[in-house]
């Protein structure tokens, strides 16, 4: 059973990957979004100080995530959803979506970090640490927004709903990320850093658990 569901999940991830490769315009669309947002910030601010840099990075990650993840439940038609449901089941489906979006956001974080350092300068002292934190942040953001996208896909005005539901929920996590990320700007290690990282990982695990428990109820149409 566990073996079978792992196989289902991998197949579904492969399907999403294939879709992404076939319809490249969505991927490039998000990429262009990243580049142009950061470019706008660069034109209006120049090269900001490290605190502003950090805050801007996370806010832009938030918007990139909304854009990258929002479509994940829209591209499949109703009939195809029913097919996945009968073949793989709701749990495998949501797990595959979570995993795929987490990978997508990790890639996006890396790319936006690259564009950030090119345009807005590089105030980082511990670059590798910051890459790790941005992966962690990207995964956390993508998990929350994947689940909210699943909710919003059932309602009208999906884009507006994603923002209305997502932004308040994401604020605590963004604050936490901003505070953790400060560690990579200063040479001294901050106290209570690991506590915050563990809190964040715990939050991510909680989201996955909730998604697995609650998603089947979203599907009962």
């Amino acid at each position: 059973m566990a073996n079978g569901s792992a196989k289902h999940i991998i197949t579904l991830i492969k399907k999403d990957l294939l879709l992404e490769i076939r319809q490249q315009y969505t991927f490039y669309g998000v990429l262009l979004y990243v580049a142009s947002t950061i470019f706008v910030v660069y034109l209006s601010m120049g090269q900001p100080e490290e605190d502003v840099w950090n805050a801007l990075f996370w806010v832009i990650q938030l918007f990139v995530c909304v854009n990258a993840v929002a479509k994940s439940f829209l591209q499949d038609s109703k009939g195809r959803m029913l097919y996945y449901y009968s073949v793989a089941g709701a749990r495998d489906f949501i797990l595959s979506k979570l995993a795929f979006n987490a990978m997508l956001m990790m890639l996006m974080s890396l790319l936006s970090l690259f564009v950030f350092t090119v345009l807005l300068g590089n105030p980082l002292i511990h670059v590798l640490d910051f890459i790790g934190i941005s992966f962690l942040g990207g995964i956390g953001l993508s998990l929350i927004f994947t689940f909210l996208a699943a909710i919003a896909a059932k309602a009208q005005q999906q884009a507006a709903l994603m923002a209305i539901m997502g932004f308040p929920i994401i604020i605590p996590q963004l604050l936490l990320l901003g505070r953790i990320a400060k560690a990579s700007f200063s040479p001294v290690l901050q106290a209570g850093l690991w506590q915050m990282v563990l809190l964040l990982v715990g939050l991510d695990l909680l989201i996955i658990l909730l998604a697995v428990i609650l998603f089947p109820f979203l599907w009962k149409d």
Binding site: I144, F147, I151, K154, A155, Q156, Q157, L161, I164, M165, F167, P168, I169, I171, P172, Q173, L175, L176, G192, Q195, M196, L199, L203, L206, I207, L210, L214, F217, L218, K220, D221
Partner: protein, 226 residues
């Protein structure tokens, strides 16, 4: 139990007690910091206890709805959330009036103020989500899913995050006590008013929410018969 009247009388007595003793009870002078404004403890802090209780009841009914889709559970879930938001707003307002005199500004971006504002935004989004769904069955089910998810996301963060940062409220990093109470500043006489106040306000919140739910159930029944 909800239909019985003894707890409503208890609620009335406790709140009368709170509203008289709250203004009469002897308070410590606290080196002149707080003066008489410390009496806000009996009104501002119980609002948050009441809000949390109502949200917990709301999420319990959301879980019950998902296990057994009875529309009644959904009405309870909705109305308890709604009353909880009202008490949250009252908590913000009572806090802001007090802060205007004590901290010099109604809003000083304290982590707990921000956390409370986030809580209210999250629950307002719940009503927007419900409003955007037209199918009644779907609205209840998806509303319940969001309610559980939002609750699980919100409560760890407002319980844990404000304790990690420095705060003007008690219970932040480097100060003693929990977010509700600063043990150094409260006397036994104050606690004798504070505890009844908490119970009284919570009972009032439950009373309002259950009245609203019953009204809602009657209205829906009437609509169904027409």
């Amino acid at each position: 139990m909800i239909r019985e009247y003894w707890w409503k009388i208890l609620c009335f007595i406790l709140l009368m007690y709170t509203c008289t003793m709250g203004f009469l009870v002897e308070i410590p002078s606290l080196d002149g910091r707080m003066q008489q404004t410390v009496r806000n403890l009996f009104f501002h802090v119980p609002m948050w206890f009441c809000m949390q209780t109502l949200f917990i009841v709301s999420v319990i009914y959301a879980i019950r709805y998902l296990r057994n889709p009875n529309p009644r559970y959904d009405y309870y879930s909705l109305e308890f959330a709604r009353t909880g938001v009202v008490f949250g707003l009252l908590g913000l307002v009572t806090g802001a009036i007090w802060a205007n005199y004590q901290w010099g500004a109604p809003w000083s971006g304290d982590p707990k103020q921000n956390g409370a504002a986030i809580a209210i935004l999250i629950y307002l989004a719940y009503f927007v989500l419900r409003g955007s769904l037209t199918d009644i069955d779907k609205r209840s089910r998806i509303g319940a899913v969001y309610n559980i998810f939002a609750f699980a996301m919100l409560f760890p963060t407002i319980w844990i995050l404000p304790r990690l940062t420095e705060s003007l409220h008690p219970g932040g990093q480097g100060s003693e006590g929990n977010p509700g109470l600063n043990p150094n500043d409260t006397t036994a006489a104050m606690e004798m008013v504070f505890l009844p106040a908490i119970i009284g306000w919570i009972l009032l919140g439950v009373w309002i929410a259950s009245l609203r739910t019953r009204l809602r159930i009657i209205t829906e029944k009437k609509l169904a018969h027409e």
